[in-house]
């Protein structure tokens, strides 16, 4: 028989949960509700956002800030750019990380190679932005090029390129910095997954005559797929919130605006519009969260 002292009352589980609940309420639930409330108010946070409507133009009433956030020219550019970042940088980091993990797996100095690739992850975004500003630097008017990339381009006989101010390429220049920063993180996690693939299965496939390409796609890839999914969703959330790189390197100029930078710029002048953008950002990350939780539950159930 269980001693009385070890029996749990109805309230006991709640008392264990209480600290977490208090923290969650104070630092997540309450601010979220506050943010949503502010997003329905005008720039002074006192009147309804509906009062900011201009007569004769389409108006979303109390949701006027959302109207702004989804139709304003700068915001449309930001939304387009965030979509670009998601579509290009997520696959970019995963592919980069996977490639490094696979290659590092086959060399003797694996740990050194991995440490070098992982190093950028340890650098702050701001630091990385400043470093890459120098890489992309352009000198005009006959001064020698001090930017690494343009020095190479000019050395090979080309004309210096405006990596950061040319709207046709600058978003890709910025994404490259993102990949450089995050590929190491993806590599570490994917590398651990690769190590977990049982050598016997790989050996068996090779004995049966499969080439390395087939071994990877038929055996390795399906085995590490759950890890790839985890890394993908994590990266998607990180990249949706991308801010630092853009802020440091272009300040959102030249068509490189992103959602988080709009939010940051507007918080001073118009908290209503800024928080509406914040809510949109939360809403965009929710599907990824739900997907993550569902997958986690399925995995738990399969155990």
């Amino acid at each position: 028989m269980v001693p009385t002292i070890m029996k749990q009352g109805r309230l006991a589980p709640w008392s264990y949960l209480l600290p977490a609940l208090i923290l969650m309420t104070a630092f997540i639930v309450y601010p979220t509700i506050g943010t949503i409330r502010l997003s329905l108010l005008d720039a002074t946070s006192t009147n309804s956002a509906a009062t900011t409507c201009t007569a004769g133009k389409s108006c979303w009433g109390i949701f006027e800030n959302y109207h702004f956030a989804l139709t304003n020219t700068d915001m449309l550019i930001a939304l387009r750019n965030n979509a670009l970042w998601l579509l290009l940088m997520v696959p970019g980091t995963i592919a980069g990380g996977l490639l490094f993990a696979l290659l590092a797996d086959r060399v003797r100095y694996e740990s050194i190679a991995k440490a070098i690739i992982f190093l950028p992850t340890a650098i702050s975004f701001i630091g990385a932005g400043i470093i890459w500003r120098f890489v992309y630097d352009i000198e005009t008017g006959g001064s020698p090029q001090i930017g690494l990339l343009n020095a190479i381009v000019v050395g090979l006989g080309g004309k210096p390129v405006t990596w950061l101010s040319n709207p046709a390429i600058n978003n890709f220049s910025l994404m490259l910095v993102g990949v450089w920063l995050w590929a190491g993180f993806c590599m570490t996690i994917l590398s651990a997954a690769i190590k977990n693939v049982q050598a016997e299965i790989l050996e068996a496939a090779r004995v049966d005559g499969a080439n390395e390409w087939q071994v990877f796609w038929q055996i390795m890839f399906p085995t590490i797929l759950p890890t790839i999914v985890v890394v993908t969703t994590t990266m998607a959330i990180i990249i949706l919130k991308i801010f630092d790189i853009v802020f440091v390197m272009t300040g959102g100029n030249f068509g490189t605006e992103v959602i988080a930078n709009r939010m940051f710029t507007l918080i001073v002048t118009n908290p209503g519009q800024s928080t509406a953008i914040a809510v949109i950002l939360i809403v965009l990350t929710i599907p990824i969260m739900i997907f993550n939780i569902q997958r986690f539950r399925k995995e738990e159930a399969a155990r």
Binding site: T73, R133, D137, I138, T140, G141, G142, S143, T162, L164, S165, N166, P167, F247, V248, M249, T250, G251, G252, N253, F254, T265, L266, V268, T269, N270
Partner: protein
């Protein structure tokens, strides 16, 4: 012992302030406001303040600026035996709290926002010792609200200037232009001669890209339209997409985005750090002949090229044809008419106050009597510009704040990169309306 002394002293100070505040209507209109100060032997009028009186002031100055100000008021403190208790803050919220609880006797603030915020509390300066006759009329107009003269600048920093190399100008046979038409002719002549007239650089490490452009454009507005027009933009009565503004942007777009007119064309303008843009005019050989930049450029050039000599290797001239100057100015406001406050206001607006301000080389004093008392050659030149101008405007972006300034900077960058002027300025004008609302 020591603490008790401080406490008693503090109590006394508070008591004297209360007493002073409780005795208002005693001395307001006793002094003749237009009496010209005797220039022969200027003396300090203490306005009946007793030795040992204290005076509370608030300003934004710190460090060497604060020291300069202390030097300027030292003769006043000595002559009247008044102790000035200063609080330095740059925070408008701190000022607001103070004004609503214990307002300073005298306030020095680098913009005109107190005029709007504290109209009812501010005292007309001519009733508290201020002397209008030492100032150009546009300064009085700027500080007057519905007929009441509430603010007067004690310090000004004009920035409507262009830096150039007199040596280069001489070698190439160019002369300093004096009208805006002259400047346009000179620029075209330089281009025909195969020289690059301008060096421009927006790169400021991120979000503020475009501010050097906005200074340039405001000077062009001052030349083509004048200071009243610029002040109307700040007031919102002239929209930022007015034909006068568009005309200026058309010239500016050509100058800032064509490689014949500026180093590297649009790519050079948006990518070059603003300090490099200054250096490129004074490098050997120079890459361009002129750079539009504020007074600080002088110190930048001196530290980058220590061998260069001011006046021959590098110098500046007033933006040609500018009918007014743009820049910053610190204004003086009065919240109290106690004798000590009146004495300070009378001193700073007097001939002696202006002379002492100039002698301290603390930027410029808009006081007419300051001219001739500067010692720094660059300040002397600035003071002559200020003495001969007909108007003064704040930086439009600084005066209006966000969202106008961010929209303006972004608009300038876009226009330099070839965006349509009319549509871009319409967006900026919308932000102008939002900023004023």
């Amino acid at each position: 012992m020591n603490t008790r002394f401080t406490r008693i002293f503090g109590l006394l100070a508070v008591a004297s302030m209360i007493l002073a505040a409780c005795a208002p209507a005693a001395t307001p209109t006793t002094m003749p406001p237009t009496a010209p100060a005797a220039t022969a032997a200027p003396s300090i009028d203490c306005k009946g303040a007793a030795s040992g009186d204290t005076l509370s002031v608030v300003y934004q100055w710190t460090g060497t600026e604060e020291e300069s100000f202390n030097t300027i008021i030292k003769p006043f403190e000595t002559a009247c035996g008044i102790t000035v208790n200063a609080q330095s803050t740059r925070d408008a919220a701190v000022l607001d709290t103070l004004v609503k609880s214990t307002p300073p006797d005298v306030l020095f603030w680098p913009d005109l926002s107190p005029l709007k915020l504290y109209t009812a509390q501010l005292l007309p300066l001519d009733t508290v010792g201020g002397d209008q006759s030492n100032y150009a009329s546009y300064w009085i107009t700027m500080g007057t609200v519905s007929g009441k003269w509430l603010a007067i600048p004690v310090k000004a920093d004009p920035k409507s200037i262009i830096w150039y190399s007199p040596t280069q100008f001489k070698a190439l046979g160019y002369t300093v232009p004096t009208t805006f038409a002259d400047l346009q002719t000179l620029v075209e002549k330089m281009v025909t001669d195969g020289q690059v007239p301008w060096s421009m650089g927006y790169n400021n490490g991120g979000s503020a890209d475009g501010w050097t452009g906005s200074d340039f454009i405001q000077d062009m507005l001052l030349a083509t339209q004048g200071p009243d027009y610029v002040n109307k933009i700040i007031a919102g009565t002239v929209p930022y997409n007015d034909p006068g503004v568009v005309a200026v942007y058309q010239i500016y777009q050509k100058w800032a985005s064509d490689a014949k007119y500026t180093i590297g064309g649009a790519d050079g303008t948006v990518n070059t750090p603003f300090l490099d843009a200054i250096y490129k005019v004074f490098s050997n050989p120079p890459q361009a002949l002129m750079v539009k930049q504020s007074g600080f450029a002088g110190a930048s050039i001196a530290s980058q090229y220590p061998a260069l000599v001011y006046g021959t290797d590098y110098d500046f001239f007033q933006f040609p044809g500018a009918q007014g100057l743009q820049g910053g100015a610190d204004f003086m406001y009065a919240f109290s008419n106690k004798p000590a406050a009146q004495a300070l206001i009378a001193y700073l607006t007097s001939a002696l106050g202006g002379q002492n301000w100039a002698a301290a080389n603390f930027s410029l004093s808009p006081n007419k009597n300051a001219v001739g008392n500067y010692t720094d050659p660059q300040e002397i030149k600035f003071s002559e510009m200020l003495a001969n101008t007909t108007g003064f405007t704040f930086d439009i972006g600084d005066a209006l704040g966000a969202p106008f300034n961010t929209a303006e900077w972004k608009g300038i960058v876009d226009i330099v990169q070839g965006a349509d002027i009319t549509t871009t300025l319409a967006t900026v004008a919308a932000a102008q309306t939002a900023s004023i609302k």
